[in-house]
């Protein structure tokens, strides 16, 4: 069932001209040449002004460079949105200790799928950003902690690092600047928790990936107890364009507090899942309108703004500006901008149960509230989904989630509580229906990617 566009509907628009055409709303920067042949190679990258940002950075003093990135307003793209330049500024200078940059490429948050395609198609943007960042924080050794389960990306990173060394962008005396930099690509071994920055550091030190209590923060005592910056892939990869095209250009996009461009990842029951690079502040409605909407005949039921750890939204949030403040004001978090969209065929209890099983599996076990709480959430949710729950279980779910939220070292437990709280808030009736109806009223077959085209698939 396809509905006609409602042309008269006023929409909040943060963009000059107010045009809703994709050409106006989207700004491919990192993704600008992903469609070119061999986009992952140094040659193609240089054809698109690759490593020009680095030249401009090396002409500045490291402190001026940090100030420049800070002034650009770039905020972390890995979930928390902390200002990148400020993270760099926190590194104590002249302390006589080695400084490290660790790039968090452990992209594992359910729904998040931006860094992996970025590294697959354009790894040099990250490498250039790493060199710039290391010059700024006075680091001579950087690491890329890549999750292990993405061998095609590992292959291209190995190749790109090799190219960068051969071209003099890594190694000794980079571009004659006197900067020396070693870059090590490190493959993880399968643990969601290693996306948490202190667990990542423990893992990189050859230990179980378990979060550390802060303070001390990594900027003071990070890798090998030395000052360390941990940045997300997209944050670092955005730096070269800022240097090359200017902070004013960057600030001309998005809002005062959330400037710039970013990758939005649309997935689920939408007509055109994929990567959409746009200024911060675009809305899901704009993204859906330009890309064909939900799959034909279906209706948006619930969605996550930034992965499963961010409280879910519903149809009523279609016009929330997808920037740090906008999503926060609406009761969730921008997170990783992983817009997982589920239509009316999807059982929210099933979805939340599966996410909770994930958190229980990935809880590292260090903090009791998270380790025990996620276990009990799973037991309750499985019962409810199977029609064996009691009404009192719903309060108990909320109670357990409350006992996890904010009670552990890291945000994994908070992330586990998010889908519980938000689904109970918006879909309590659906939970109750599972209990009173003694089972799930949904047919999972109607949710599959092939549900509406039975002729093509004959399972």
């Amino acid at each position: 069932m396809t509905l006609a566009p409602e042309n008269g509907t006023p929409r909040p628009s943060g963009f000059e001209g107010g045009s809703d055409s994709p050409e106006k709303l989207l700004v491919p920067v990192l993704s600008a040449f992903w469609d070119e042949e061999k986009s992952w190679t140094l040659d193609v990258y240089r054809r698109h002004e690759g490593y020009e940002g680095l030249r401009k950075a090396l002409a500045m003093s490291p402190d001026d460079l940090i100030a420049y990135v800070k002034d650009s307003g770039l905020r972390g793209r890995g979930g928390a949105g902390f200002p990148t330049g400020m993270k760099w500024q926190f590194i104590p200078q002249g302390d006589g200790k080695p400084h490290y940059l660790v790039v968090n490429a452990d992209e594992s948050e359910p729904g998040t799928c931006k860094d992996i395609p970025l590294l697959f198609a354009n790894p040099h943007s990250l490498i250039e950003g790493i060199v710039i960042a290391c010059y700024a924080i006075r680091s001579s050794h950087a690491f890329i902690y890549l999750r292990g389960e993405v061998v095609p990306v590992l292959r291209r990173l190995h190749s790109a690092v090799r190219e960068a060394y051969a071209a003099g962008y890594l190694g000794k005396n980079i571009l004659g600047s006197g900067l020396d930099l070693e870059l090590t690509v490190h493959a993880g071994a399968g643990a969601y928790i290693c996306g948490e920055e202190t667990a990542l550091l423990d893992s990189l030190e050859g230990r179980r990936g378990q979060p550390r209590l802060r303070p001390p923060f990594p900027a003071v005592a990070g890798l090998y107890a030395c000052p360390t910056v941990v940045n997300n892939v997209e944050s670092i990869a955005s730096v070269p364009a800022i240097l090359n095209r200017g902070k004013e250009w960057f600030r001309s996009m998005g809002s005062e507090k959330s400037p710039g461009f970013t990758l939005y990842s649309l997935s689920g029951h939408v007509a055109s899942p994929g990567q959409y690079e746009a200024p911060l502040g675009i809305t899901l409605r704009q993204l859906l309108d330009m890309s064909g909407g939900m799959r034909p005949g279906h209706r948006l039921k619930f969605w996550t703004p930034g992965g499963s750890s961010t409280p879910m939204f519903t149809e009523e949030h279609l016009d929330v500006p997808l920037d740090y403040e906008g999503v926060g004001a609406a009761g969730s978090m921008l997170g990783t901008k992983a817009l997982q969209c589920f239509d009316e065929t999807t059982c929210v209890v099933r979805a939340v149960t599966r996410w909770t099983e994930f958190y229980a599996h990935e809880s590292c076990g260090k903090c009791t509230p998270c380790r025990e709480g996620t276990y009990w959430l799973v037991q309750l949710l499985r019962d409810i989904e199977a029609g064996k729950g009691a009404m009192a279980d719903l309060d108990k779910l909320a109670d357990i989630a409350d006992n996890i939220n904010g009670k552990s070292f890291c945000a994994l437990g908070d992330g586990a509580a998010s889908p519980i709280f938000s689904s109970l808030k918006y879909f309590r009736a659906e939970y109750e229906e599972h209990i009173t109806g003694r089972g799930c009223p949904f047919d999972p077959a109607t949710s599959t990617a092939w549900a509406d085209k039975p002729a093509e698939v004959n399972a």
Binding site: L3, D35, R155, E344, F358
Partner: protein, 296 residues
């Protein structure tokens, strides 16, 4: 991981004997690799994860011998190595197949068909989760989100991407793997064995001709935004329905019967639970949400 004492004919709870060492030639070869790995890091212990990938590339799983080798090279105890090896899911603890077929059953892929694919493969192969076909070719696993949600449902074989799968395509895929036919991922290089993959994870680049370039640039889903920005129109210009769309159509469908693919076993769950403490209610509707961590 351990051999029970009764299997050795001793019922005394004796501590396990040290693992046997690698044959000399194997050890010499692995030592050279290990030194190269250790040389990448300011502190040798950082080499442990790649070295566990390395010993896995030798035997297909992390053996006691492999852990002892890591301990020797890094001056750690075998207990310290075992603690790490058992923490991470990519390290196998028993022999498995040449091809690890991982079906994503995290929420989004599961809903989009991952559950159905996993159930179909279990039935087709006659194996359960984390089990290997009798010919030793295929180990079936359900995996967590692999950062390819815009290509859902996703299947990974030896950690190469097989995007937009269906039960039929997945069955063909495992049939081809078992028959020894060449299989190409949708994103990634022509498949090599699990052991060869483990070597890349240890940090030794894939030196096969064309491996880096295989399957070209970004996948189709990665390019949809770029194409729209360049003025290409969307395939189907269906404006998102806002009002009057189908609401509860599937609600009267048959109740959802849990299939074998789904996680069952609620036997240890409480059947009836008491209400929460009314003096300390959960602020479910007031939650501000968590502060997420970088990269999470």
């Amino acid at each position: 991981m351990t051999t029970s004492s009764s299997e050795r004919g001793v019922g005394l709870g004796m501590p396990q004997l040290p693992a046997p060492d690698y044959p000399d030639d194997v050890r010499a070869r692995l030592e050279a690799d290990a030194r190269e790995i250790i040389g990448r890091y300011p502190d040798s212990r950082s080499a442990l994860l790649p070295m566990l990938h390395l010993v896995q590339s030798e035997e297909g799983h992390v053996t006691r011998t492999g852990m002892r080798f890591c301990a020797d090279m890094l001056e750690l105890t075998t207990a310290e190595v075992a603690a790490v090896a058992t923490f991470y899911t990519m390290y196998r603890r028993r022999p498995s197949g040449d091809y690890q077929v991982g079906v994503c059953t995290n929420t989004l892929c599961a809903v989009m068909g991952g559950d159905a694919i996993f159930a179909a493969l279990q039935e087709h192969l006659g194996v359960g989760n984390d089990e290997t076909t009798p010919d030793g070719k295929v180990t079936l696993e359900h995996i967590e989100c692999n950062a390819a949600c815009d290509f859902a449902p996703v299947v990974m074989v030896n950690w190469e991407f097989f995007d937009n799968q269906t039960p039929e395509s997945a069955k063909r895929l495992v049939d081809d793997l078992r028959a020894g036919r060449r299989v190409d991922p949708t994103r990634g290089a022509p498949l090599c064995t699990f052991k060869e993959t483990a070597r890349m994870l240890a940090g030794f680049p894939d030196e096969r001709d064309g491996a880096v370039d295989a399957t070209g640039g970004a996948g189709p889903a990665s390019l949809v935004g770029l194409r729209l920005a360049k003025g290409d129109t969307a395939a189907a210009r269906v404006v998102h329905p806002r009002d009057g769309g189908p609401q509860d159509e599937p609600r009267d469908a048959a109740p959802h019967e849990p299939s074998p693919a789904e996680h069952l076993s609620s036997h240890d769950a409480p059947q009836e639970t008491s209400a929460s403490d009314p003096d300390h209610p959960s602020p479910a509707s007031e939650s501000d949400g968590p502060v997420d961590e970088e990269g999470q």
